[in-house]
């Protein structure tokens, strides 16, 4: 005989209550998904310059393993030393610092990268205009929009003014954007001679072995590009882990309260029916399964709602705030689903206890 899906029917019998409950849990789960998504988006954007770079190895000052929130300075003579090494196809220096881009309308914090024209290190794509000539700068298009500048406009950074020659894309994150100028212009603006910030190296042999050789020969830090990118992402992760945990716990506690409240209210409303079922010989175990299935349905529906809301939020944010990117990942969904499952099981405890205590004789009493 086919079983009646009592749990699901009970839950959705009072639709508005079910809707409020599912929405409450869904919104709480959305909090975790959105926060996860913001940090996943930030990590992806923070490493965008490195991830799209054609370099196989990135060489930096000893002890420096990233670009974000750090600085690196090394002797320019190391470029020639590296170029002479076996397994190295090319080595291009870049100058780098975080500075402000200023226009009459606004300011934007930016990586400013000085690269040798024709070498690696410049913008991988130019979406509009052309690469920077002398005294010119290429901006990310979302930063250009914020600054209210177009090609031919002036912006200032590194203590001088630059003319915008072109736009690139995908290099603005939650903290800063990215801008490119010529290496020589950068060095002149900063008054530096004989130094570089990083060296981007092309390898003919396996990158790991070449990087080890560079470290041995120069005393600098050399990492294959994927490893350098992982180190960069690790900074964002390590700095955000604890705040993520606090928010996740709070959001799951809210979800727990909503699930517990919905199931408890529903169980109270059906105590007579539970009594009837008990009087008809239904075992407590079967009744427990009904409550648990209600919890599972609720968590499942809320999870689906939170995923839809998270994707909608990501779409809205990409239009409203181009520096905030929300990446809803499968790992994040799985993590939140597990959390929702655990919370649903805990939320069912109070209703389960109430069901277990129901006396079948209640069915014969008048309400």
């Amino acid at each position: 005989m086919k079983r009646v899906p009592v749990g699901r029917r009970n839950l959705f019998a009072e639709r508005r209550r079910a809707l409020l409950g599912v929405a409450g849990v869904g919104v709480a789960l959305l909090m975790v998904l959105a926060l996860d998504g913001i940090f996943a988006g930030a990590m992806k954007r923070v490493t965008a310059y490195i991830d799209t770079s054609p370099a196989d190895i990135i060489v930096s000052q000893r002890g420096v393993k990233g670009m974000h929130m750090t600085s690196s300075s090394l002797p320019l003579s190391a470029v020639e030393d590296i170029r002479r090494m076996k397994g190295v196809s090319r080595a291009d220096p870049i100058l780098f610092e975080t500075n402000s881009l200023k226009s009459p309308k606004a300011r934007a914090l930016s990586y400013v990268i000085g690269y040798v024209p024709g070498g690696r290190g410049g913008p991988v794509t130019i979406t509009k205009g052309r690469p920077p000539g002398p005294g010119e700068i290429v901006l990310d298009e979302s930063a250009a929009s914020k600054l209210g500048v177009s090609i031919g406009s002036d912006v200032s950074t590194l203590g001088r003014s630059w003319k915008v020659s072109g736009f690139t894309g995908g290099l603005t994150n939650i903290v800063n954007t990215t801008a490119f100028v010529r290496f020589d212009d950068y060095a002149a603006a900063r008054g530096t001679t004989g130094t570089a910030s990083y060296i981007l190296v092309g390898a003919e042999s396996p990158a790991g072995a070449v990087a080890r050789e560079i470290e041995k020969e120069t005393g600098l830090t050399a990492l294959p590009r994927p490893e350098f990118s992982r180190e960069e992402a690790k900074l964002v992760r390590d700095m955000s882990t604890q705040i993520m945990q606090i928010m996740t716990i709070a959001a799951l506690l809210i979800a727990l309260a909503v699930i517990g409240l919905t199931l408890y209210a529903d169980t109270l409303a059906r105590l007579r029916e539970v009594g009837v079922m008990k009087a008809l010989g239904t075992r407590t175990r079967r009744l427990a399964l009904i409550v648990l299935s209600q919890a599972a349905w609720m968590a499942g529906a809320a999870m689906a709602l939170s995923i839809v809301l998270a994707f909608a939020l990501a779409a809205v944010m990409s239009r409203a705030a181009s520096n905030i990117s929300i990446e809803v990942t499968a790992v994040s969904i799985a993590r939140v689903a597990i959390g929702a499952g655990v919370v649903a099981a805990i939320g069912a405890v109070a209703p389960l206890a109430r069901v277990a205590r129901v006396d079948p004789a209640t069915v014969f009493r008048r309400q």
């Binding site: 508005r16 209550r17 409020l20 409950g21 929405a23 409450g24 919104v27 709480a28 959305l30 909090m31 959105a34 926060l35 913001i38 000052q61 000893r62 002890g63 420096v64 393993k65 990233g66 974000h68 929130m69 750090t70 600085s71 300075s73 090394l74 610092e97 975080t98 500075n99 402000s100 300011r107 914090l109 200032s156 203590g159 939650i174 903290v175 830090t221 180190e231 690790k234 900074l235 390590d238 700095m239 604890q242 705040i243 606090i246 928010m247 709070a250 506690l253 809210i254 309260a257 909503v258 517990g260 409240l261 919905t262 408890y264 209210a265 109270l268 409303a269 520096n323 905030i324 109070a350």
Partner: protein
């Protein structure tokens, strides 16, 4: 009629367990909003700790620079001598400053490196343990940062490839997630490969306005009052963290509203017959809404009180376990969150009120 029957209070107190679950749910939402606002308040206070405590009444930076944190300022430090020659200037000291990333026990930590002249202005303003920096291989680090990573006096670690010995622990020297690290000016110049340059000159002047004029007109540099730098740094961090934080506050607000609506709606659905009687006795829509509003605002008020307790407990726990986060809510913020709780109650009242307003009073006479 002798008096009004306190329907709201009676309804809400009928089922204590449901009341507890509802209040806890609302309290977690309100506690989370307070915690988010508290972290935000802590960030705003901590982010400007250097500007407010270092003792300078004028900051001199590279032309166009507005922030102490985040953007790089670098200029010829010979300007220090020119400032010292001015009669109104009591003291002028160069400092170098950069964001750096350290690897502590395989965890990445961003910090603010400050290089100042031993005995001059710019170093730590409060030493909790040990002593200030005297030699070029010594470092004073923020005490909370040291505790966070298990670093003690006398220990050594690498900064940008050079080993430094911890000779002092400073207190109150945090910029939220970032901690300050103080080395000598010469050591910082070596680490940053920037001899003869300064990021800022800290000035103690008897006439800051006159000094600022001279800085701008004679030296071509940027004078900034400590208050201006502090506000600019707060704005910078607000631009970075404000979006995600406000998003979380909105979601927590929505969750709290849904919990209140769900709780009162559940109570209402179970008492539809009674509400039918109330309507049959002539209660109008306004009276019904006030009954609902009484219940929802009571839940919101209880949720606020318990939520404030949650906030105090969570805040104390976080400050103890994660000293890098400091939480601070002003009375104005508490009042704002109390208003938000009231708004939650007001919005939530519409859902059950609508259900009852559609109820046919004749239903009370049906079986």
């Amino acid at each position: 009629m002798a008096g009004t029957v306190p329907l709201s209070r009676r309804n809400i107190l009928t089922d204590r367990r449901r009341l507890v679950i509802s209040v806890l749910g609302v309290a977690v939402s309100i506690g989370l909003i307070l915690l988010l606002e508290g972290l935000w308040g802590g960030l705003r206070v901590q982010v400007s700790s250097y500007e407010e405590n270092v003792g300078a009444n004028l900051f001199v930076g590279e032309k166009g620079v507005r922030n102490f944190l985040g953007e790089v300022s670098a200029f010829d430090s010979s300007a220090v001598d020119e400032l010292r020659r001015r009669p109104e200037v009591k003291a002028a000291w160069p400092v170098n400053t950069r964001f750096i990333v350290l690897d502590f026990h395989d965890r990445k930590q961003a910090a603010v490196l400050v290089g100042s002249v031993p005995g001059g202005m710019g170093g730590p303003w409060k030493i909790a343990e040990g002593r200030p920096v005297e030699a070029d291989d010594e470092v004073v680090i923020d005490r909370a940062l040291a505790r966070q990573h298990g670093v003690g006096l006398g220990e050594t670690f690498e900064i940008l490839g050079r080993r430094f010995r911890v000779v002092g622990l400073s207190s109150g020297t945090r910029a939220w997630m970032l901690g300050y690290m103080f080395v000598s000016h010469d050591a910082s110049a070596g680490l940053l490969r920037s001899p003869g340059t300064a990021s800022f000159i800290l000035v103690d002047s008897e006439d800051p306005a006159a000094t600022a004029r001279a800085v701008r007109e004679e030296l071509g540099l940027q004078p900034l009052s400590p208050d201006t730098v502090a506000e600019n740094d707060r704005r910078l961090f607000a631009g970075i963290f404000g979006g995600p934080l406000n998003l979380m506050v909105i979601i927590a607000f929505a969750a709290g509203t849904l919990i209140i609506a769900l709780a009162v709606y559940s109570m209402t659905v179970e008492r539809l017959r009674e509400y039918g009687i109330v309507k049959a006795m002539g209660a109008r829509r306004g009276r019904i809404f006030r009954i609902m509003l009484g219940q929802t605002t009571a839940l919101a008020a209880l949720g606020f009180v318990v939520g404030f307790g949650f906030y105090l407990a969570a805040s104390a726990l976080i400050t103890y376990a994660l000293p890098q986060f400091w939480s601070h809510v002003s009375p104005a913020v508490v009042a704002g969150v109390a208003l938000a709780a009231g708004l939650m109650g007001f919005i939530a009242a519409f859902v059950p009120a609508r259900r009852v307003s559609r109820l046919d009073p004749a239903s009370v006479y049906r079986g």
